[in-house]
């Protein structure tokens, strides 16, 4: 099948698949950001066990393949009497892994905040949580825009894990399997999905660069 036949026949489904991929990406990335910030707070907290938990989390979830995590969530959790819907399993995997990377980027971003500013905050009488909230975290986030942009793209690509479980509507990668079991789409079916992934990534990259220029601090 050529591109135009595929698009006439499956155009609607491609559109839905693109929306699904976007939806999975946005939810996962938002979750990863929130979790990443919390993890980072734990990792710098003046409380030993919290630091330990944060570091441990990052070591685990930075080093586990997405597919392996998804298999655990889908097939192993039921043994613990936890049966999650397929979509929840996918979103959990695509949130937990990027959160570890997010925390690593924020840790690097924190190093750009001068020690002097932290001393100034302490001398104003700010407590540790206030210093994190007012001084350290905002600057760490600003200096992490570009790595976090990469993470957003990587998160989108990770959502292709959704193709491994039955979803309706399915995502861009899942749709390719669907087409190839219902018709003979061949490589062309992949090609259309690839173009949609790439197109989204280009837009994300542009937005990231724009945001970086806007919030980056002169020193």
């Amino acid at each position: 099948m050529d591109i135009s036949t595929l698009l006439t026949q499956f155009g609607d489904k491609y559109w839905l698949a693109l929306l699904t991929t976007w939806q999975l990406t946005v939810i996962s990335f938002a979750g990863a950001l929130v979790l990443g910030v919390l993890l980072t707070v734990c990792r710098v907290a003046p409380v030993m066990p919290l630091r330990w938990v944060g570091d441990f989390y990052v070591q685990i979830f930075r080093n586990i393949p997405g597919a392996a995590l998804l298999i655990l969530l889908v097939y192993a959790l039921p043994y613990l009497k936890v049966v999650l819907p397929y979509k929840t399993c996918v979103l959990t995997a695509t949130t937990l892994i990027p959160a570890a990377f997010c925390s690593e980027y924020l840790m690097a971003g924190m190093n750009t905040v001068g020690k002097g500013q932290i001393e100034a905050a302490r001398s104003l009488g700010m407590t540790f949580p206030q210093i994190l909230k007012n001084v350290v975290m905002p600057q760490a986030l600003r200096s992490s825009v570009l790595p976090l942009t990469n993470l957003l793209v990587a998160t989108m690509l990770t959502t292709a894990l959704a193709s491994q479980v039955p979803l309706n509507p399915t995502d861009l990668t899942g749709l390719v399997s669907y087409i190839n079991t219902h018709a003979v789409g061949g490589v062309t079916a992949f090609f259309i999905s690839a173009v949609l992934y790439c197109g989204t990534a280009v837009v994300i990259g542009q937005l990231g660069s724009w945001l970086d220029r806007k919030v980056r601090l002169q020193r």
């Binding site: 001068g114 002097g116 500013q117 001393e119 100034a120 905050a121 302490r122 001398s123 104003l124 009488g125 700010m126 407590t127 206030q130 007012n134 001084v135 905002p138 600057q139 600003r142 601090l217 002169q218 020193r219």
Partner: protein, 247 residues
């Protein structure tokens, strides 16, 4: 009965590894007094200044702010720290906040001052130090002298009982030193209690109530500027004055 000193240090000892940086320091600063600490580099004067609000830890001794002992850490330390302002050599303004927000953040977050009131007070302070027209800018857009004046306004915004100045003009170009010293002189005349570590002998002579001379982690002399500069008691103070006043 004598008034309680605003700042009192008792038998402060501190080591950096094997280096004994503060040797049995005793110092008290009265309400409204301007104490200038001078001495050669490495004499421990900056370290002493920073121990007063525990930015540096100490090995032993006691620090009292208005008669209350400064604890090692925790909320109580934060609360007492808020009563002592600090101005740093490298300004240390919050780089992501505007000049105005740099001044309002302390009162709003620590003293829980309502936003509107904090902003009004901040603008008054910025006007007092002559940078009110820069209120909406970020620190990096200001000159060093302007940044340091903002830092002074930020300290004043907390209504501190005293302000510590840790070499406030050492990172400034010569033409900007004057504008910062002028603000400090005005503060001193208005009765602010100040501890100033500086190499500006003119300022020490003109503004200080008392000059403290340190060398090798010890306080060697304390005197009025007049007495200290004309009749230093120790050999080391004489040598120090000779070396800086020669040229």
């Amino acid at each position: 009965m004598a008034q309680t000193p605003v700042i009192e240090l008792r038998h402060i000892q501190k080591h950096f590894g094997t280096l004994h940086v503060l040797k049995d320091i005793n110092l008290s600063v009265a309400q409204g007094e301007v104490v200038v600490i001078i001495g050669p580099s490495g004499s421990g004067k900056s370290t002493l200044c920073r121990t007063i609000n525990r930015l540096e830890t100490i090995d032993s001794g006691e620090i009292l702010i208005d008669g209350a002992a400064l604890p090692q850490e925790g909320r109580e330390l934060a609360r007492l720290r808020a009563q002592v302002g600090m101005v740093f050599q490298s300004f240390n303004l919050f780089a992501h906040k505007t000049v105005l927000d740099n001044v309002t953040i302390g009162p709003m977050d620590v003293l829980k001052t309502p936003k509107q009131q904090a902003r009004e007070e901040a603008m008054t302070l910025l006007r007092r130090v002559g940078v009110d027209t820069q209120a909406a800018k970020l620190p990096a857009q200001l000159s060093g002298g302007q940044q340091q004046r903002v830092a002074i306004a930020r300290a004043l915004a907390m209504h501190p009982k005293a302000i510590l100045f840790d070499e406030p003009t050492s990172a400034l170009d010569p033409e900007m030193i004057g504008e910062v010293l002028e603000v400090m002189t005005r503060l001193a005349r208005e009765g602010m209690t100040m501890v100033v570590v500086t190499h500006e002998m003119g300022f020490a002579r003109k503004v200080a109530d008392r000059v403290v001379f340190m060398d090798s982690g010890e306080i060697l002399e304390q005197n009025t500027p007049e007495e200290f500069f004309t009749h230093p008691q120790t050999k080391r103070a004489q040598d120090f004055l000779d070396s800086i006043l020669k040229h």
